[in-house]
């Protein structure tokens, strides 16, 4: 085995370890997120919430998970078998795959190998995220159709319309974020977007010229709608549709839907953090902190990333606890008549500010000239093996 091959093998092992780590963290985290949500909502509603299994009821979700695992695997007689089995899987896979491009920390060096805390940093990372989130809707639609049940079908119909409608303003909000980021020297890969927001919270994209807050808020609203969470949880509105698209599901298949929902929440939080809130950067640059605050200095990038994602998870809980569900026509009207025009206007404003001379870094030379060497090199090489 020569050096070249050896380094490929080492890279492969590192990548596998990172993938395993990310998946494991999600799987372990979800039961506690569910517990946290139940406790928080209970607190808001002046109840106690789960408190029997383990200290503070911490192990309640674990117990629920074990129960779901050992439950009888019921297959209703009237379902479309293949699609019924496929739906939870289709829901779960994109939710896990999105995590692959999210940078959750800076470079670290372990056993002499320096690696970034991101499974893979694609040059078209944000497009990859958009593509996968747009595939997530199939899980819901298929579940609704395969269940062969009017409540499920209505849930599936609602979610297909809702998710497509909210994808649009979400994409436009991301476009604005990318424009802001590129004005700071970022590119389309998520790592470069994070790195463009270094040196303190005043450089974070959501504070950019006072206008960055708009796409941030829009992304967040659309993210809630994309994950089918309250107040946009029409596809599973229990007061009208029993349980919506997962009415006919039980046991592990239901658990997969549940896992996917929480994984998607984590995704939306992580992407909002990455695009708008500086990713793994600490709010105040570590270098200018006074010596006495050694504890804050010691906390690593992973901590800051987790804190920010945790904030978004809390916001999910709080919105669910405090807001009533929207009516369906209001939901669609909000997306098409409210968010889409607003997002377009927002892009216009951001573009105007950038054009009128806001630049922190010199703009790369115009690509229309296309230096021959660069263009030929680009096309001569095969596509990047990632993706």
């Amino acid at each position: 085995m020569d050096g070249e091959e050896q380094s490929v093998v080492v890279e492969l092992i590192i990548a596998l370890v990172k993938i395993a780590l990310v998946v494991a963290v999600i799987m372990v985290l979800v039961p506690f997120l569910v517990w946290g949500e139940r406790k928080y909502v209970a607190d808001v509603q002046v109840r106690i919430g789960p408190n029997r299994v383990g200290p503070f009821g911490l192990l309640q979700s674990l117990a629920d998970g074990i129960k779901l695992m050992f439950k009888e695997d019921i297959l209703p007689g009237h379902v479309d078998r293949v699609l019924y089995f496929l739906a939870p899987i289709v829901m779960m896979i994109p939710a896990l795959c999105v995590m692959a491009v999210i940078p959750f920390g800076n470079q670290i060096t372990l056993f002499g190998h320096t690696t970034r805390l991101v499974v893979t940093d694609l040059p078209v990372g944000i497009l990859y995220v958009l593509a996968l989130t747009s595939l997530g809707v199939y899980g819901v639609v298929l579940a609704g159709w395969a269940s062969n049940n009017k409540y499920s079908l209505l849930g599936g119909l609602r979610s297909s319309a809702q998710m497509v409608s909210y994808e649009l303003p979400m994409g436009l909000a991301i476009v604005a974020a990318l424009m802001i980021s590129s004005a700071k020297g970022g590119e389309m890969s998520l790592v470069s977007i994070v790195e463009a927001q270094k040196d303190g919270f005043w450089n974070w994209n959501f504070l950019w010229w006072g206008i960055g807050f708009l796409p941030f808020l829009m992304y967040w609203i659309c993210g809630i709608a994309e994950t089918n969470r309250a107040p946009f949880d029409l596809p599973e509105a229990e007061t009208e549709l029993v349980a919506g698209y997962h009415t006919e599901y039980s046991g592990m298949k239901f658990a997969l839907f549940f896992l996917a929902e929480y994984a998607n929440m984590l995704n939306v939080g992580a992407i909002a953090t990455t695009l708008f809130c500086g990713g793994w950067h600490s709010p105040i640059p570590i270098e200018i902190l006074p010596k006495s605050m050694g504890l804050l200095k010691a906390l690593g990038p992973v901590f800051w990333f987790s804190v920010k994602v945790g904030f978004f998870i809390w916001a999910y809980y709080h919105l669910r606890a405090t807001l009533p569900r929207l009516r369906y026509d209001r939901l669609m009207g909000f997306a098409w008549k409210g968010l889409v025009p607003l997002a377009l206007v927002n892009i216009l404003i951001v573009a105007t500010i950038i054009t009128l001379g806001y630049r922190e870094k010199p703009v790369p030379p115009s690509t229309s000239q296309r230096p021959a060497s660069q263009a030929v090199g680009m096309a001569g090489q095969p596509g990047p093996g990632g993706f």
Binding site: V119, L142, V164, M188, S189, T367, M378, P384, F387
Partner: protein, 197 residues
């Protein structure tokens, strides 16, 4: 046959097989799902062709939006399976098959003349193991290329680009008008309004 070719033939074969299922499956929902599989195969082929932007757009626009629209309509109209109706046009399948074969034949004849004239090269380099990179590719080819396509769109193709946006607007208005229910004044009074049977 090396790994590169094998990967290509797998994906290409899957895309054609799924296209066949789109055509032959009687259940429209399954047809639509096979079409999604076909689109994803094509997106993978685009990646091997160094067209990352198009691959992503293929998934976002086709699989994520257009096919969801198709599924929405199929589910809304509850087109579970095609009803068994007598064939209004006798021999339509035969004639259609024949014409499709004619198209395929014409295309293959044209292709054969080109193929027989060229020497061989591996199908594409992108499948080679050495190209696997788990870190950021050093050249950031995808990035450069997207910027190039963008500047191309907004410089050389600005006029068609703007025309396309007009086309989309027209399509939007047309779709709304067509799919809209009848206006209240044209139909029965409010409260008992319903579609014509």
């Amino acid at each position: 046959m090396n790994v590169a070719n094998l990967g290509f033939f797998l994906v290409a074969g899957l895309s054609i097989v799924s296209a066949g299922f789109v055509i032959f499956h009687p259940n429209p929902v399954r047809s639509a799902l096979f079409l999604v599989v076909n689109f994803i195969c094509l997106a993978i082929l685009y990646l091997t062709l160094n067209a990352q932007l198009l691959a992503a757009l293929q998934v976002i626009v086709y699989a994520g939006a257009i096919m969801v629209l198709f599924l929405f309509v199929i589910m809304l109209l509850n087109l579970g399976g095609e009803r068994a109706r007598e064939d209004a046009l006798a021999g339509q399948k035969f004639a259609g098959g024949f014409l499709a074969l004619v198209v395929l034949g014409a295309l293959s004849v044209g292709l054969y003349q080109v193929v027989s004239a060229k020497e061989t090269r591996p199908v594409t380099d992108a499948w080679r193991l050495e190209q696997m990179r788990f870190q950021a590719p050093p050249g950031k080819e995808g990035e450069v290329q997207i910027a190039q396509i963008g500047s191309e769109l907004f410089r050389n193709y600005l006029y068609p680009f703007e025309l396309t946006s007009v086309l989309l607007l027209v399509g939007l208005i047309g779709a709304v008008l067509l799919a809209k229910r009848r206006l209240p004044e044209q139909s029965q009074p409010e409260g008992q309004r319903r579609d014509r049977p």
